[in-house]
């Protein structure tokens, strides 16, 4: 009988552990992987080309939909690039709000990651716990922007509006009695800042819970230790950024090294891994959640004490006040012109990068002086991580592919763009 040497297998695009629409063509020898060829682009929407056909301020909503589990960080990268071209200085309060929501977003993203990664390799409970906390954070999104996911909250020149004095509340329904709803609303009686502060106080205990479930868990360690090892030199060569790079032991975080907004005033640490395997990257991300929590706390304290504008005064960029629009024709015209035609941005090119929860999220803008960008390039962190998939899984078993996809924290919205 002729012996079968190797065979090819399709992983995805409908596999639940493919985190969306990854089609992975695997060449296997038994259960050992010889070659992995990711086929991407099933979620390609041409965001960059769409942004070239619209005024600058109309594309912010597209950015939310790139990495759809860390929405505001994407907006931040894009908005920073526009501000750099315009030469706009954002008010201090808006900078603190942005930093606070960037860190809330980082926690949101890492909670999603820990839940999905756990679920993929056999830890079901964690998913439910992680989503319990995500729910609270998405309520913060809702309170501030009206949307739970795609916020469009950051605008060139600041943020859409100041933090609200109240939280949206749950309502009784045939599925939830008044008593249950009252219990849920207990923490939502005060302002948004009260709610966030309460969250920062209980969140470290939640992270402890996740760690008791995973960190010393025998099964978890068997699935992650020494899987997908990347040496520090190789991580740099492959263009890794964020927790993927820090997991390999490179101490590099744009929040510290090239601080933007008010990160230079924040007190936090950068966790770094040692072995560069899936387990170390897990530890790095868990510690990042704790550090983010610290930053959120510092922002809450500052925002309580300091009032101020959250948008620049330049009315070429900032929309008119809502109450003015109700009685003033010029304000109404101003609003219409601003949102349909936008504003001209001086010709030139900029690259601005932020420390996105997944790595370096960059936005490269070329302007030819019109009110629409000439070229927008989004540098998505997951893109170069997934490009290294072949190298990371070679020689591993089939089941380890799932662990590696999980550890790369893949989201197709940003990879396919």
């Amino acid at each position: 009988m002729r012996e079968i040497e190797s065979y090819t297998m399709n992983f995805g695009p409908q596999h639940p552990a493919a985190h969306g629409v990854l089609r992975l063509v695997l060449e296997l020898d038994g259960e050992v992987i010889h070659r992995a060829d990711p086929h991407v682009g099933l979620l390609h929407r041409g965001t960059e080309k769409l942004a070239e056909t619209k005024p600058y301020n109309q594309s912010i909503g597209y950015m939310d939909r790139l990495d759809y589990v860390s929405m505001m960080c994407n907006e931040h990268g894009y908005v920073l690039a526009i501000e750099k071209l315009l030469g706009v200085q954002v008010p201090e309060r808006a900078q603190y709000i942005r930093v606070m929501f960037d860190e809330i977003t980082r926690i949101l993203n890492h909670l999603m990651w820990i839940g999905a990664h756990g679920l993929d390799i056999g830890a079901m409970t964690l998913f439910l716990y992680a989503f319990r906390e995500r729910e609270d954070l998405m309520d913060c999104y809702e309170a501030v922007s009206g949307a739970r996911l795609h916020a469009t909250y950051y605008r060139p020149g600041g943020v859409y509006r100041d933090l609200p004095d109240f939280m949206p509340k749950q309502m009784a329904s045939k599925f939830r009695s008044q008593k249950e709803v009252d219990k849920l609303n207990e923490k939502r009686e005060g302002s948004l800042l009260d709610f966030i502060e309460d969250f920062t106080e209980r969140f470290p205990a939640c992270v402890d819970t996740y760690e008791t479930l995973l960190t010393d868990n025998r099964i978890w360690k068997q699935r992650t230790v020494n899987i997908g090892v990347v040496s520090p030199e190789r991580a740099i060569e492959l263009g890794f950024t964020g927790p993927m790079l820090r997991g390999s032991g490179i101490e590099w975080d744009l929040r510290k090294k090239q601080p933007y907004e008010v990160y230079d005033r924040m007190d936090f640490d950068i966790p770094v891994g040692v072995h560069g395997d899936c387990y170390d990257r897990y530890l790095v991300r868990v510690e990042e959640m704790r550090q983010s929590n610290r930053i959120v706390k510092q922002c809450v304290d500052w925002l309580r004490k300091n009032e101020g504008p959250v948008m620049v005064g330049d009315t070429k960029i900032a929309p008119p006040k809502r109450p003015d629009m109700k009685g003033d024709m010029e304000s109404l015209i101003h609003h219409f012109k601003l949102f349909t035609e936008g504003y001209c941005v001086p010709a030139g090119e900029v690259y601005s990068a932020i420390e996105h929860p997944k790595g370096e999220f960059g936005c490269y803008l070329i302007s030819d002086g019109a009110n629409k960008p000439f070229r927008v390039k989004i540098r998505a962190p997951g893109f170069s991580h997934l490009a290294a998939m072949n190298e990371m899984v070679q020689g591993h078993m089939l089941a380890d592919v799932v662990a590696v996809i999980g550890t790369q924290d893949i989201v197709f919205g940003e990879i396919d763009r």
Binding site: L85, E237, G369, R375, F383, S384
Partner: protein, 240 residues
């Protein structure tokens, strides 16, 4: 401002680059805290190796490769002159960008480098000399991170990267024709896909939606950036 301090590379880097490469470097531009190096396509491999290995630069990471189509740069896209009296006219005619619009080469690959040792960034622009068959040398042998970025630029713009080991399409559909991010490719595309119940399979057909634009007006020459107006302050008074 801390943001700019961090992004502004020390001038010593600019000096070192001009000193090291001499006439090979066509232009080193500095603007908005970014350094841009324009390198001839033929010299790129040599320059890139030096940028990575020389102790004065040490650009150990390639962050991004971006294809750019400069067709129609700075030109108006729509003729809107007749529309001022009656409001905006949906029937404006489109100025289709043509090849001749570009003054310089049409295609370029823009590479962003990062030095972890010096905490500096550098942007490199490689113009493809031939507009009809744009070719630039691949950066893959020097920085492996260029792999997918170059595949994407090839897919979207049709820029060929000499020396790339596996230059396949990346994001578009299997069997896709054309390069969608080129400026002469319509935003609605040429083909659409639907399920055909008669044939019982998914079919491709010419796109049925009419190309339209929601934001047709392109504004240029904004008075705010006119130095003649801003110097004497008349601009501020207009908007007071």
């Amino acid at each position: 401002m801390s943001q700019l301090d961090a992004l502004t590379a020390p001038n010593s880097m600019a000096d070192a680059i001009t000193e090291w490469f001499g006439d090979k470097v066509a232009v080193l531009q500095v603007g908005r805290g970014d350094h841009t190096l324009v390198v001839g396509a033929d010299d790129w491999v040599e320059v890139a190796t030096a940028l990575r290995d020389e102790p004065a630069f040490k650009f150990d990471a390639l962050i991004d490769v971006c294809g750019v189509d400069y067709m129609g740069y700075g030109k108006d896209e729509w003729k809107g002159n007749t529309a001022t009296r009656s409001g905006f006219n949906r029937g404006v005619s489109r100025n289709d960008a043509t090849h001749d619009d570009a003054d310089g080469p049409r295609f370029a690959a823009v590479i962003h480098l990062l030095s972890y040792s010096f905490n500096t960034r550098l942007r490199v622009r490689l113009y493809a000399p031939d507009d009809d068959a744009p070719r630039v040398p691949s950066s893959y042998p020097i920085w492996n991170a260029a792999d997918w970025f170059e595949r994407e630029a090839f897919d979207m713009f049709g820029i060929l990267f000499d020396g790339h080991p596996d230059l396949r399409r990346l994001l578009t559909d299997y069997g896709f024709v054309g390069h969608p991010f080129r400026k002469d490719f319509p935003i609605s595309g040429y083909t659409e896909v639907r399920y055909d119940p008669e044939q019982g399979r998914v079919i491709y057909q010419p796109v049925s939606i009419a190309p339209r634009t929601l934001v047709p007006r392109v504004i240029r020459d904004d008075n705010r950036y006119d130095t003649n107006l801003t110097q004497d302050g008349s601009n501020e008074n207009d908007h007071a």
